[in-house]
């Protein structure tokens, strides 16, 4: 049983009723995952490398106008549209973690995966941005995460380095991973605790319970991608 518990189906629930759209998740993700910045001009051309972004939609007209925020990252699809189009198997499904992984040193930069991703969740490293980080700013780069080069596609990994670390720690201590023990950087920083992360294969985990909420929906459900990220509608606008 313990063996089985180790192979989780990692999932996430984002409660849009408490998400304030503050973007702390965006910064936290960048600092954890060695995501380089691209500068004003390239950001203006849409080459920003954010693995997670907060989409802001406007509804209505002044003065009855209100925004809605939605953090979007790789949805870790069960049937991922990015996977079958990669000619070199750089975007693969991890059997063990049940998430989608990008193998950077396989990627040859065809960008087919990004074109096929309906969530615009992938970012492409156009100009070796990480090589432009001036010394000594490279000191803070996380040794647990690859620093990617030019011509490579990258995206959210659910902080897979933290998943591995948590599993290794639990294994060394001869126990199973506790619920809430492994948190990705975005969920860890989120000031309102809008992001819940955990094991969906355990029906009693916090994330499983939250995913059963009646406000649940997944992004572009009709495409049949089986996302691992569930959103909970905001109550103010959509009704409970």
């Amino acid at each position: 049983m313990a063996e089985e518990k180790q192979t989780g189906r990692w999932g996430m629930v984002i409660d849009l009723d408490v998400c304030t759209g503050c973007n702390a998740c965006v910064t936290a993700c960048a600092m954890e995952n060695n995501i380089p910045w691209v500068g004003e001009e390239d950001a203006g051309y849409g080459r920003g490398m954010h693995w997670i972004r907060v989409q802001r939609y406007w509804e209505g007209e002044y003065p009855e106008v209100s925004p809605h925020y939605q953090p979007v990252m790789c949805q870790q699809c069960g049937r991922a549209p990015c996977e079958p189009v990669c000619p070199v198997f750089a975007t693969v499904h991890s059997e063990e973690q049940q998430i989608n992984l990008q193998v950077y040193n396989r990627c040859i930069g065809t960008r087919y995966c990004a074109n096929n991703c309906p969530y615009i969740a992938r970012s492409f490293n156009w100009f070796d941005y990480s090589q432009q980080i001036p010394t000594p700013m490279n000191y803070y780069l996380n040794p647990n995460v690859t620093v990617r080069r030019r011509g490579v596609m990258e995206k959210c990994t659910f902080c897979v380095q933290r998943i591995y670390e948590g599993q290794e720690r639990a294994k060394a201590e001869g126990r199973v991973v506790q619920d809430g023990e492994i948190v990705p950087a975005c969920a860890q920083a989120c000031p309102t605790d809008a992001i819940i992360f955990g094991d969906l294969s355990d029906p009693e985990s916090r994330v499983s319970k939250a995913a059963r909420n009646q406000r649940r929906y997944t992004l572009l459900e009709e495409l049949g991608t089986e996302p691992k990220v569930t959103y909970l509608k905001g109550e103010g606008t959509y009704g409970g």
Partner: protein, 670 residues
């Protein structure tokens, strides 16, 4: 690969508890370090302010520590305003400070920022010992939040000159009058955390909290509100009075005695008219308040930074009193700590002394007055009358460019210290700071420099900190100071679980008289300058703060002017057009952003960019809106930031803004 290389790292991380000193809130951080390098800032789960959470600014603290443009050693500037410098040894530096301190004590001045409490305590002691004027302590966040006004209003209504703490998590209805508590107000992470609890349905029957925001421009905070009313800037207090009157009429006031007479004379229709909110909406709000079990009213910087700012603060706080919310769960509490920040007025008097040639030496630490203060105040001209300016800046900023000497302090992550918790909790709490890495450069703790130069009887900074923490040690159950100190550093500070509940309250002194601002003239606009994730502007040198999109506009790396699309159409302005804003104090040019959620008679501009010095990531980027600000103050001595009026002129030039929304196509315009 079955095991990718990143999963098999050799070595172990070490974690240090310290305090975030990016803003005065004092969140606890646990810094992950690896082989002597600071890797990632994470929240301290045990800390009473942030409970493991962090904001964008705190998360990018390492980009300040490892910024390539830092000052690396003591310097003497050859000529003020110019880049050329010559190197100095620390012995020479201490000699310079010593002779400055040994001069006429009345002619020495200290200008300190809001973040370093231990340094402020040391300088206060130094000033008392030597007979110098007390240090001036001021920062841009305090200016935009009108902190001194809030403290003065609290003194008048609750009987103690300190910050109030609003128990958002326990309230079921919150009316925020211009308090952007999810962004920068007082203690944003603590209030964001509380907002999560406020919103979430709890067990067994906790209602979902309902948030109403009244402010002229929809901020991120208002974006999370259930209802937003774009009232005229400066009418917040009047609206609070009108609500009081409606509540009085319907018999819903829970403690009417003190305030009844004041409310009786309010003309609700006139207020509704002046504030730009319909009578029906006011009645609806009064009904919401009457039905709420635990309503709470927040006096934010948007309401306080006006000529009637103090009256606004009093009137909003009075609603809390009238609804019986003082010292109650989900209500208003007095904090346990003492407030020591100055108002804008003390800065003005320092500038007068400088102008009159009464200051020989000005010491500056942790503040950037040349960037933060309205230019019409004349700080730059006053600075030229000061014989000697000594800056302790860690980073080349506008002010240190005009300093004769730069004796760089350690970066906050390399130094010791403590922060009194004044805004994020009502509990008694002192947060500890310790070095998480060995200092990178030949910098020195400012307290150490001042001890060496002044001869005050301390061996070093740590000795001073330990001795000034004696009263805190006395409160703890630690048997000896060494034990207390070890726990203090290891846990990230010292805090107590209980909070003060008993307090005097006296709403009878509240001048409950409706005051309404003058209407704007034809073709002029209210100007709103608001702080962003850049904080007091010092965040602009962090590339990842620059590239974290502004939550409302998704603009990165620049300054924009928010204009209502209807107004823009009338003026013939399109997105990405460069417009000129002209006030009586000055003028700037910035790129227009058509913002659908701002009053048509108001324009808003974010603060934090427009640096002429702050390293490669900040310089020459965007504009600094303080150029436009007038120097009128309110009754508490704070700057009436919100009373500036501007004209808008098209320039015919265009410059596209870098916007995230263009990339993901969520707006559909590009």
């Amino acid at each position: 690969y079955t095991d990718m290389p990143e999963y098999s790292q050799i070595g172990k991380s070490t974690y240090y508890a310290t305090t975030c000193r990016e803003c005065p809130a004092g969140c606890g951080i646990i810094m992950r370090t690896f082989e002597g390098r600071a890797i990632k800032a994470e929240g301290n789960p045990a800390h009473p302010v942030n409970r493991g959470k962090l904001c964008s600014r705190g998360l990018t603290a390492v980009q300040g520590l490892y910024n390539p443009d830092r000052y690396k050693a003591p310097l003497r500037r050859i000529k003020r305003g110019e880049a050329a410098t010559e190197a100095l040894s620390w012995d020479q530096a201490i000699e310079v400070v010593r002779s400055a301190l040994n001069g006429n004590p009345q002619r020495v001045a200290f200008y300190l920022g809001l973040n370093h409490d231990h340094l402020f305590d040391f300088v206060t002691e130094l000033a008392q010992t030597k007979g110098m004027p007390a240090p001036v302590r001021f920062g841009a966040l305090g200016m935009f939040e009108a902190r001194a006004t809030l403290v003065e209003a609290t003194r008048q209504v609750l009987g103690k000159a300190t910050f109030p703490f609003f128990d958002l998590a326990g309230a079921d209805l919150v009316l925020s009058f211009g308090a952007n508590f999810l962004e920068t107000w007082l203690s944003p992470v603590a209030y964001s955390r509380a907002f999560g609890d406020f919103r979430r349905r709890g067990q067994p029957l906790k209602k979902r909290g309902y948030l109403v925001v009244l402010e002229p421009r929809l901020s991120l905070t208002a974006g999370s509100a259930d209802e937003w009313y774009s009232i005229v800037p400066g009418t917040e207090g009047a609206v609070a009075m009108a609500l009081g009157k409606l509540l009085l009429e319907s018999g819903a006031l829970r403690m009417p005695v003190a305030v009844e007479a004041g409310y009786r004379s309010v003309n609700v229709e006139a207020v509704a008219q002046a504030a730009g909110i319909s009578l029906e909406k006011l009645q609806h709000l009064a009904q919401l308040i009457a039905q709420a079990e635990r309503p709470l009213f927040l006096p934010g910087g948007g309401a306080l930074g006006h000529t009637f700012g103090l009256e606004n603060a009093l009137q909003i706080l009075a609603l809390n009193v009238a609804m019986g919310r003082v010292g109650q769960p989900g209500g208003v509490f007095l904090i346990a700590g003492e407030e020591k920040a100055d108002s804008f007025a003390s800065v003005q008097s320092l500038i007068q002394r400088m102008q009159a040639g009464e200051v020989d030496t000005l010491f500056v630490h942790g503040a950037n007055p040349l960037f933060e203060l309205p230019q019409s105040l004349g700080f730059e001209q006053a600075l030229s009358k000061v014989k000697q300016v000594i800056s302790f800046a860690t980073f080349p900023d506008e002010t240190s460019l005009f300093a004769d000497y730069i004796f760089p302090d350690h970066s906050p992550l390399e130094g010791f210290g403590y922060t009194r918790i004044l805004t994020g909790t009502a509990q008694f709490a002192v947060s500890s700071a310790q070095p998480v890495v060995v200092p990178l450069y030949d910098t020195r703790a400012t307290v150490d420099v001042l001890i060496a130069a002044s001869g005050l009887p301390y061996t070093d900074e740590v000795d001073f900190i330990q001795r000034s923490l004696q009263p805190v040690f006395a409160r703890s159950d630690a048997p000896e100071l060494a034990t207390f100190w070890a726990r203090f550093l290891q846990q990230g500070g010292y805090w107590e679980e209980t909070r003060q509940t008993s307090m005097a309250m006296d709403a009878s002194t509240v001048p409950l008289k409706v005051l309404l601002p003058e209407a704007v003239e034809e073709k002029t606009f209210h100007l709103m300058v608001y702080p962003t994730q850049m904080g007091d502007g010092s965040g602009a040198n962090r590339p990842w703060l620059q590239e974290t999109p502004d939550p409302m506009t998704t603009v990165m790396w620049n300054t924009w002017v928010e204009i209502n699309p209807k107004t823009a159409e009338e003026l013939g302005i399109h997105n990405d057009d460069i417009v000129r804003l002209v006030s009586s104090a000055g003028q700037i040019e910035a790129v227009a952003y058509l913002y659908p959620a701002i009053r048509p008679d108001t324009v808003a501009i974010p603060f934090g960019q427009g640096h002429t010095a702050l390293g490669r990531f900040a310089e020459g980027r965007g504009v600094n809106p303080v150029v436009l600000l007038q120097t009128q103050t309110n009754a508490a001595g704070d700057l009436a930031v919100g009373d500036t009026r501007v004209r808008i002129e098209p320039t015919g030039k265009r410059r596209p803004l870098a916007r995230l929304e263009s990339r993901s196509g969520v707006y559909g315009e590009h």
